[in-house]
Symmetry: C2
Subunit: 108 residues, 2 copies
DNA sequence: CTCTTTGCTACAATTATCGTAGCAATACGC
DNA sequence: GCGTATTGCTACGATAATTGTAGCAAAGAG
């Protein structure tokens, strides 16, 4: 019995478990995912504007995250205004918007 | 003017920006952070129980995350019951609890 | 045409994460 | 006592993700 080629893990980890929350937690748990959603919360941003907003994160990861978030249906690339939240993405964003107030109280 | 020794970035990225939300998003955006909080949402777990709940993630990362989450004040290590959410951690957890319902509707 | 901005990619270097094994400490039953 | 099982935690090399810098082609403005 040889090792199977294993079709090279793609997409979101945990999406096979049948528990969507796990897939979602995994996707949001990747670096810059939450930040990207956060920065898009108010207005669309161009790829470069988004990079500036994200403290000059490397375009490689940002591109990867944007692709994932687009595939997930949270983000879309508009004609002129750049990247923007979809209605679904906006909904998701509002879901963890209370984090803002929590963070203020947290403060470390 | 020589380059300052730069006290070697420790703790949470973005905590210097004065925007706690950035620090929080960074901390929660590390792998297994959200998952750990999620798995502790109902009952405390031992380190090994937590590992089992987290799909056998490597103990190295889990330990790192647990240390970070403890330092952040979200998790504590009890005498007998293992790892548990602090009141603050429970509050944080409830903040993104609506994600569950959202994920169900999302489904991919 | 030139100049700028767009979304996006190549590439090597650095980190983070994984997976396995194992430690010391504590608590059990015997 | 003795073995054994569980706890929190760590070492280590291998693998994958992320970084930082540079640059591309396409589209638009002047």
């Amino acid at each position: 019995m040889t090792k199977q080629p294993m079709p090279k893990q793609r997409g979101v980890r945990g999406s096979r478990t049948g528990r969507p929350i796990m897939a979602l937690l995994d996707l949001l748990g990747r670096r810059w995912s939450l930040r990207i959603l956060w920065e898009l919360r108010e207005a669309p941003l161009t790829s470069r504007g988004l990079r500036a907003a994200c403290d000059e994160a490397s375009p490689t990861v940002l591109q990867t995250r944007l692709d994932e978030l687009r595939e997930a249906g949270f983000v879309e690339l508009g004609e002129a205004s750049g990247y923007a939240l979809t209605p679904l993405g906006r909904e998701l964003c509002e879901t963890f918007m209370p984090l803002h107030r929590f963070a203020e109280r947290w403060r470390k």
